[in-house]
């Protein structure tokens, strides 16, 4: 009888192996699928994430932008003490709503799992992961100045301020905005989503493209000087009414300037002069410089969700979709003055100013400055990373001088700051909504000789010019940031 007993034990062995095999199937092979693909039936990951204290997000001055507190059930809930000020670009993180904007982009660090090895080690030790603190370069005072300025000036708008030397984002304001704490309220969230006139959930700084108008002349000027085809003293025809692509182009107030040098053309923002420059440079040269500035692709910002950003590009009608600047649909003369279907985000235009400010070296924009663990140890510092070399330093210097002229004696005098030299460029684009309802712009940087701030401001629905409405906001933002 012993033979069958031994064989029976063999059978038992096989059966237990089958049990281990079945368990392995669900814990290894199928684990990811079961954990991730059935969020309605399997709420374990959600409940567990609620038990992890999500990291705090802080502004540059150390003030709290977002933090998590425990409720009576022991679950954590997100609070936004600064309200609507940082609704953009920080976004929100709530159960059933998910994460948006910066909260989404930095989700791993905020949940304390940015480092796979460290996480595995903690798991082995049975340590409950804790979220890391994320420090940003965002400046609450300057952000507020930007929001208040836009709110006073027009219907909607956005402002972006960068440190041109590092690419750190100091201001990213979009108005109208929203208070992230309101997102938890189902009815308020629905109202936000329905509000087609204000679109409070859209971050206009990165998501909306606006015709950059005359601020784009800085790009054309950079291409003109850096290609060696022009100098600031080169002269072009600045008369109003010249035809480009068969259609007459007017200067402001239909003013004729005759042969005019490029510095004057920029200071007085002469449309026909710059259209002539652009046509002389040709589409391939314009394309090359636009790409160096960052046009025609998603912004290179590393800590903001790519899906929530728009590409700055030419969208002529026809064909009604983005095309490369070399496309046959492009009206090169109008493109060169920021029209002809060109759409640029405020972030992109801030990068144009930053590239000139930083001697032609464009830095990748980033919101995070560093990441700390809950004991306050720095685990990651975000180092400045170059995005592109846009132009030679000599070109940048020459262009800066021209932009200083704009603020000293041209269209941008309202951007002057007492005791500090400011370089800039205004822009005014007429929108499709009736007469004199303009989209106004100002891009610039300061102090001109050692720039610490580069800024772009756009306001929509303004009866007036960029120099009168956008420049003062840019000035206030720069002035606020230069205090530090």
């Amino acid at each position: 009888m012993n033979g069958p007993i031994m064989r029976l034990f063999g059978v038992a062995l096989l059966m237990f192996l089958a049990l281990v095999g079945a368990t392995s199937w669900w814990t290894i092979v199928k684990a990811d699928e079961l954990n991730n693909d059935h969020s309605r039936e399997n709420t374990r990951a959600l409940v567990r994430s609620l038990k992890i204290q999500r990291g705090t997000i802080r502004a540059a001055d150390g003030s709290i932008i977002a933090r998590s507190v425990k409720d009576e059930h022991g679950l954590y809930r997100r609070l936004y003490p600064q309200g609507a000020r940082f609704g953009h670009p920080v976004g929100y993180s709530f159960v059933g709503r998910g994460q948006t904007e910066f909260e989404a982009a930095r989700n791993d660090a905020l949940m304390g799992k940015e480092d796979a090895i460290r996480t595995t080690f903690d798991e082995l030790l049975g340590r409950r992961p804790r979220g890391h603190e994320v420090r940003t370069a965002l400046d609450p005072q300057a952000q507020q100045v930007a929001l208040d300025g836009i709110a006073r000036a027009g219907d909607s708008g956005a402002a972006v301020a960068l440190d041109p030397r590092t690419g750190a984002v100091k201001v990213m304001a979009s108005w109208p905005g929203y208070d992230p704490d309101d997102i938890r309220d189902e009815s308020k969230l629905k109202a936000f989503n329905r509000d087609e006139t204000h679109k409070p959930l859209v971050n206009r700084a990165v998501q909306f493209g606006y015709a950059p108008g005359s601020t784009f002349k800085v790009v054309t000027a950079a291409a003109a000087l850096d290609s060696g085809r022009f100098t600031p003293q080169s002269t072009v025809d600045g008369d109003s009414g010249q035809k480009f692509s068969g259609v007459a182009l007017a200067n402001d107030f239909n003013q004729d300037f005759g042969q005019v040098d490029l510095t004057t053309a920029l200071v007085k923002s002469i449309n026909t002069a710059w259209a002539n420059v652009g046509v002389a440079l040709g589409k391939p040269t314009m394309k090359r410089y636009m790409e160096r500035f960052g046009f025609d692709r998603k912004p290179q910002i590393t800590d903001y969700p790519r899906d929530a950003m728009s590409v700055s590009a030419v969208v002529p009608t026809p064909p009604g979709h983005p095309v490369p600047p070399t496309s046959r649909y492009v009206d090169l003369g109008r493109l060169s003055i920021g029209q002809g279907g060109l759409d640029a985000t405020p972030l992109q235009m801030a990068q144009v100013a930053a590239a000139v400010a930083n001697g032609g070296r464009l830095m990748k924009p980033h919101i995070t400055s560093k990441i700390l663990d809950h004991d306050g140890r720095t685990i990651e510092t975000v180092d400045p990373e170059p995005q592109a070399t846009v132009m030679r330093p000599s070109t940048a210097t020459a262009l800066k001088d021209m932009m200083v002229g704009v603020v000293q004696r041209g269209t941008g005098t309202q951007a002057q700051i007492p005791g500090i030299q400011v370089a800039g460029k205004t822009g005014t684009a007429e929108t499709e909504f009736g007469d004199k309802i303009n989209n106004v712009w100002f891009i610039g940087f300061a102090p001109a000789d050692h720039p610490r701030v580069a800024v772009a401001v756009t306001v929509k629905g303004v009866q007036g010019f960029g120099g009168d409405f956008a420049a003062p906001i840019a000035r206030d933002i720069m002035q606020e940031l230069l205090k530090r």
Partner: protein
């Protein structure tokens, strides 16, 4: 070292595990969702539990030392290990249930000692009462039929707040009867038959009772509507038949008969066909949302996936969702994401918290018990003892297979307990009796092998 000293030493790790386990549960408690939040109860309860547990085990060990000096030294510590592991896991699920389980544990040990004391001279007296025993066993099985079904099956009797599962005891009665019956008839089953196409067909006179048992199993399946118990009973029967006759052909015929019968019955009992549908496609959301559908199985698999290789850690499985639903949860068991986390699905909770690694370790402990059981059967010197030990071991192994296989979707899910680990008085007590019988056989088998 003598067998009993080895046994004593082996109990110490079990006691340490209880202490460590309770400490771990206390440490993680502050993070539990729901009713327990806010309080941070790190107390000396863990040590108390450990000490009481060690005391109980030592008492049982003394009984063994006095009565069965030669019995296998590893069986009892292995069972104690499982029991203490179960106790910690149940405590983690619901503290009040753990207190009851600890009481059942005491009763179990009393029954364990009583069985040993009663049968220590010669357990083979059981043979004399085999028909009484089998009638009692069948009676126990059919008893729940007089009461209302629980989850569609007639497995338990509710007496007040107590729930008794007679099948747990019936399985022992069944094995005792079969061991005795097969000892008498095994020679006849093999030799007296005619050979037809290479298969020995035993005379109907002797094979008749076997068919009766098959019929009884089918009736059982039909009456108590429980595949798990039927598989356990019939599987143990086939294992014992195989040991008694060494005929694989009998086993094959048995399996075919069982398969055909089960297929027939499954088609006619809604409860069983529901279970099979759920088993085939637990992630079909129509089935998932049906009452008695696949939600249980799907949640069990979710829990295991959540555990992964290393598990979430003691006390870290998400069982309670009261914090999210904001409903009125009286206890963790009622508001659980996983149904019956303390009984049928305790294996899923273990995988969730200790991962594949912990579950494999648990299965290893079971396998070691099974190995000891078959070893005892090998060492036993008479047919009845061999059949009894092998039968008890088989039914034990099958019970583990049925519930773990069900929870891991290897076979259709049925509610039997995970021996020694699941919450449940009947299960704990019956399994201690089973253990006592194995030790009795072992003591007799090793009596003259090991010097005194």
């Amino acid at each position: 070292m003598s067998a009993r000293n080895r046994e004593f030493l082996a109990l110490i790790p079990a006691a340490l595990l209880v202490t460590a386990g309770f400490a771990a549960v206390f440490l993680s408690r502050e993070d539990l969702v729901g009713g327990l939040s806010g309080r941070n109860e790190v107390s000396d309860v863990s040590v108390t539990y450990g000490a009481i547990f060690l005391g109980l085990c030592i008492a049982a060990h003394l009984v063994l030392r006095l009565t069965l000096r030669n019995a296998d030294p590893y069986l009892f510590p292995l069972a104690a290990l499982l029991a203490c592991f179960g106790l910690v896991e149940i405590y983690r699920i619901d503290a009040s249930l753990a207190r009851q389980q600890a009481e059942w544990f005491v009763f179990g040990l009393v029954l364990f000692s009583a069985t040993i004391l009663l049968l220590r001279r010669d357990y083979r007296v059981l043979e004399r009462y085999r028909y009484l025993i089998v009638l009692g066993g069948i009676g126990l099985l059919l008893l729940p039929r007089l009461f209302a079904p629980v989850n569609g099956a007639y497995l338990a009797i509710r007496v007040g707040s107590l729930s008794v599962q007679p099948a747990e005891f019936a399985k022992i009665a069944m094995v005792v009867f079969l061991a005795s019956y097969l000892r008498d008839t095994r020679q006849l089953l093999v030799t007296a038959g005619r050979r037809v196409m290479g298969v020995t067909i035993p005379p109907i006179k002797h094979f008749g009772p076997m068919l009766v048992i098959w019929g009884a199993t089918m009736l059982l399946l039909f009456f108590i509507r429980d595949i798990g118990s039927s598989v356990m009973f019939f599987g143990a029967f086939l294992a014992m038949l195989y040991i008694a006759t060494s005929r694989v052909s009998f086993v094959v015929v048995g399996l075919v008969l069982f398969g055909a019968g089960a297929w027939l019955v499954a088609g006619h009992v809604g409860h069983i066909s529901d279970r099979i549908d759920a088993w085939q496609d637990p992630f079909n959301w129509t089935l998932y949302n049906k009452p008695g559908g696949s939600a249980q199985l799907a949640q069990s698999l979710f829990a295991q996936a959540d555990g992964g290789v290393l598990g979430q850690g003691f006390g870290q499985a998400v069982l309670d969702i009261s914090g999210l639903v904001q409903g009125n949860c009286t206890s963790l068991v009622n508001c659980s994401m996983l149904p019956a986390p303390h009984t049928d699905f305790i294996y899923a909770v273990i995988v969730n918290e200790l991962g594949l690694v912990g579950a494999a370790a648990l299965l290893c402990v079971y396998l070691l018990i099974v190995q000891r059981g078959f070893k005892i059967a090998l060492l036993a010197r008479d047919s009845f003892s061999k059949l009894l030990a092998a039968g008890l071991t088989s039914v034990f192994a099958l019970q583990v297979f049925v519930i773990v296989g069900g929870v891991t979707k290897l076979i259709p899910l049925t509610g039997v307990t995970l021996p020694f680990v699941s919450y449940g008085g009947s299960s704990v007590m019956a399994n201690f009796v089973l253990l006592a019988l194995l030790l009795l056989v072992s003591d007799r088998a090793r009596r003259d092998v090991e010097p005194r």
